[in-house]
């Protein structure tokens, strides 16, 4: 019996049946969850309208003339790392660009790239995970070895190789990130898939003469989608952090585009001066992370707390 050994989460049993057993209740959000929804909606709105409500363009170096103090005869005042003021509501960054504008433009890149990558990661991970679980020994072990190989490599190193070879355009970043994170999704999906494939109700379906496609569509997928969704919250923030980690090595999104993680990195030199430029994007990331996870917590509480079980 090699199932426990092959099963990376070390769990087995009837996990797949859980959502079927739960009584359907209407979803109720706690106060925290409601706050979370408001924050998420705010940022999603900014993804769509951010560039239009931003006071400046993300790439614009603010004119020094904007900051001349009446009474002081300095015609070229410093424009970098300024505190919040009348011109730049959230201050300026290390190059004298408007932090607020960069934050609003950056919402699109950050949330867009992370969301697309997360969704793609799930699509690839779940598809291959089920294929491994349902497709026989050879397919399973070749996919699993390949997956272990990817998973055992430091993500930043993989990113470095791919970006050095193919450049850091948005499509490359999205493809790279989704492939890297698909490997962890694969692990979970395959574990769930194996559990469900050996369960009694799948046996019953087989006896009834249902095909593999039907079983996957009607038994396997519904059994795993919800539990897997709960791990979405953390995965999403890991992708934002991965992008910021790449920017640490100088491999992030293409300048002058802003993404929140790179904004933290590029303004880090302002930290000893007490500049808020590196803190604002960090707060934005934190607000989104906390919001998403509070909502996820509420959803998983609603589904009997079973959902978080396989999050790794």
């Amino acid at each position: 019996m090699s199932t426990p050994v092959n099963n990376p989460t070390g769990e087995s049993g009837q996990t797949g049946a859980i959502s079927e057993e739960q009584p359907r209740r209407s979803l109720k959000f706690s106060g925290a969850g409601k706050t979370g929804i408001v924050v998420i909606l705010f940022w999603i709105t900014m993804v769509f309208i951010g560039p239009w409500v931003a006071p400046f363009h993300e790439a614009e170096f603010l004119d020094e003339a904007l900051f001349i103090e009446p009474g002081l005869d300095d015609p070229y005042p410093a424009t970098d790392f300024l505190p919040p003021g009348d011109v730049a509501y959230l201050g300026t960054d290390y190059l004298g660009r408007d932090t607020l504008s960069r934050l609003l433009y950056g919402a699109r890149t950050t949330i867009g790239v992370s969301l697309l990558s997360t969704l793609l990661a799930y699509l690839i991970g779940i598809t291959l995970g089920i294929a491994a679980a349902a497709g026989g020994r050879v397919l399973d072990s070749s996919l699993s070895r390949l997956n272990d190989a990817v998973l055992s490599m430091p993500t930043i190193m993989l990113g470095m190789v791919v970006i050095s070879a193919y450049g850091s355009t948005l499509p490359v970043l999205i493809a790279l990130t989704s492939l890297i994170y698909a490997s962890s999704v694969f692990r979970i999906a395959r574990a769930f898939g194996l559990d469900i494939m050996v369960s009694d109700f799948v046996d019953a379906a087989r006896v009834r003469g249902e095909g593999l496609g039907w079983i996957i569509r009607r038994e396997v997928l519904p059994g795993m989608i919800l539990p897997m969704a709960s791990d979405f919250g953390l995965r999403f923030v890991y992708i934002i952090l991965f992008l910021s980690g790449l920017s640490f090595l100088g491999l992030g999104v293409q300048p002058p585009q802003s993404d929140w993680g790179s904004m933290v990195r590029e303004n880090l030199a302002g930290l000893p001066y007490g500049a808020i430029a590196p803190l604002i994007p960090a707060l934005a990331i934190a607000s989104l992370t906390v919001a998403i996870n509070l909502v996820v917590d509420d959803i998983s509480a609603h589904h009997g707390g079973k959902l978080a079980e396989k999050i790794i």
Binding site: A59, Y76, T79, Y94, L95, G167, P256, A269
Partner: protein, 533 residues
């Protein structure tokens, strides 16, 4: 620089006073600022004043943190390409000649040298009684072997372009060597002071032991981690002051500054211009800001669109807001560039008659219209301080005149092989060379291996050769000036600014020479600096 003369005198008087403990450090700084000297300038005057006050003290362990290191750290001088290698090279080895304060040339292992009348033959007297770290004596054989490694098409030497006119190095007797040249080169002795022209032991095959005649003996060397060096007790001149050296790197720029401030290390290379204020406002550490000729530039290849259009290049040159780049990107630690590499740091070789190209969006717009080009792609890597930011400012300013410059940022590793001299527009960094001629020759000579804009000007090539053969200073300057004008007007090079060398130094370290060729007095601190209690 107005009133340099009097200010200089005042400073010297103040230094004298400070030295005699007549005034406190605080008063000294205040007095200097009253003279209109910036905080950074004041600190370096203070440092040199303290240095005057005391004679070099022997002892102590100096810890130096470079900005880069890795598994490719070298001890083979002919392939030195990074600051950590240069520093280790300075500890382990000697040159024939030495370039010190304000680019003056001094004898090192060559006691004296002479050239024949037309400058095609040089004879060097090698110092006697010099020993390698393993006890064997230095002879002409070692010098000939070391120098011949730079010759020949298949030499991997990174400075072999300096020595293309040298046909051979020959031993005359045990302590005399002679270089034969196919064409005259009046700059040869200066070129021998370069960081790669170190003298190693004949027939060395494994360079990782660092056996040379230098001021410090290599104790241990872990590439990408650190090296330890101890004072060479048999050094051939009065010399090394530290008991030992630790040479390492802290690659994160902010961490490097923090390490200096926290006292973990005594010297750091490549201070980010944004961190200067922080260091200057901290007790016990200061920044040496040395104007240099090095620069980060933008290459527009002349043999391919869009750079082949002279109007296009002019457009790129007029869109550079040079003053603002120096002011807000370099935070004042740089000089405005004039689209040729010979900055005022080259001293008398810098052509003063050339007018300064200014930021002029209207002219830029007109030239770009003439060129009929409205968009371009620029490859950027962080190869020089402020270059990425400069390109971002350029992009924003071009946008205002309706030109779409897209920036492709790529990693630095692999950049030189895959992008530089290949993509039609790319960025480049050039360190300062010891003479204006060598700088101009290496980058702009027709057909030169590193002619990175593929600019081909036969007159310029002629001038290079003529200038090397010329001995009359006035004629030499005239030719240099003409060459600078030709590059300024015709090449595909955009040089918005020259970058100061910014070294972060503990106040306990004194006696670092001022040599604008590289970090920490072009790495000469190793031999001359010392540590106070």
């Amino acid at each position: 620089m107005h009133g340099d003369e009097t200010t200089g005198k005042d400073i010297r008087a103040l230094q004298q006073k400070f030295r005699d403990s007549g005034i406190s450090r605080r008063d000294f700084l205040a007095a200097l600022s009253a003279l209109g000297i910036s905080a950074v300038g004041a600190r370096s005057h203070l440092a040199s004043a303290s240095a005057l006050a005391l004679s070099p003290r022997k002892g102590g362990t100096a810890i130096y943190a470079n900005n880069l290191h890795g598994p490719d750290d070298q001890l083979d001088p002919i392939v030195f390409t990074s600051g950590i290698d240069y520093t280790r090279g300075r500890a382990c080895y000697n040159n024939l000649t030495q370039i010190l304060d304000h680019l003056t040339l001094h004898p090192e292992l060559a006691e004296e040298w002479s050239a024949n009348r037309d400058g095609t033959e040089y004879t060097f007297k090698i110092r006697k009684g010099v020993e390698f770290h393993d006890g064997s004596p230095l002879t002409a054989d070692d010098v000939v072997w070391s120098m011949n490694r730079h010759l020949g098409a298949d030499s991997p030497s990174v400075i072999k372009a300096y020595f293309t006119s040298v046909t051979e190095w020959r031993k005359v007797d045990k302590h005399t060597v002679r270089a034969k040249l196919s064409t005259p080169d009046r700059d040869l002795p200066v070129k021998l002071g370069e960081k790669q022209a170190k003298i190693v032991k004949k027939d060395t095959t494994d360079f990782r032991k660092g056996i040379g005649t230098g001021p410090y003996i290599l104790e241990s060397f872990e590439p990408g981690v650190r090296s330890l060096h101890t004072r060479n007790p048999n050094y051939w001149r009065d010399g090394p002051n530290f008991d030992s050296l630790v040479l390492t790197a802290i690659t994160d720029p902010i961490a490097r500054v923090n390490a200096l401030i926290a006292g973990d290390v005594h010297l750091i290379a490549s201070v980010n211009s944004r961190s200067v204020r922080l260091i200057e406002s901290t007790e016990g550490v200061h920044v040496n800001s040395t104007p240099s000729g090095r620069y980060g530039g933008i290459c527009c290849l002349k043999n391919t669109p869009p750079g082949e259009s002279d109007h296009f290049v002019k457009g790129m040159q007029y869109i550079q807001d040079r003053e603002r780049i120096v002011r807000s990107i370099l935070k004042g630690h740089g000089q405005v560039g004039n689209d040729h590499p010979i900055s005022p740091a080259y001293g008398a070789d810098h052509c003063t008659e050339l007018s300064q190209r200014q930021y002029d969006p209207d002219k830029a717009k007109w030239h770009l219209k003439q060129a009929g080009i409205s968009s371009a792609e620029l490859f950027v890597a962080p190869v020089a301080a402020g270059i990425v930011e400069t390109c971002l400012l350029m992009q924003a300013n071009l946008k205002k005149i309706g030109f779409d410059l897209s920036i492709r940022q790529v990693p630095t590793d692999g950049y030189w092989g895959a992008v530089w001299m290949k993509e039609p527009m790319n960025v480049v960094s050039w360190n300062m060379r010891p003479t204006a001629n060598s700088m101009l020759a290496i980058q702009f000579a027709p057909g030169a291996a590193w002619n990175d804009t593929y600019w081909n000007n036969p007159r310029f090539g002629e001038l290079l050769q003529m200038q090397l053969a010329e001995t009359d200073p006035a004629r030499r300057y005239e030719m240099l000036c003409e060459m600078q004008r030709l590059v300024h007007e015709g090449s595909g090079m955009v040089i918005p600014c020259h970058i100061n060398i910014l070294d972060g130094v503990s106040d306990r370290i004194h006696g670092i020479p001022v040599v604008p060729l590289g970090a920490m007095g072009a790495y000469e601190w190793v031999e001359f600096a010392w540590m106070s209690e």
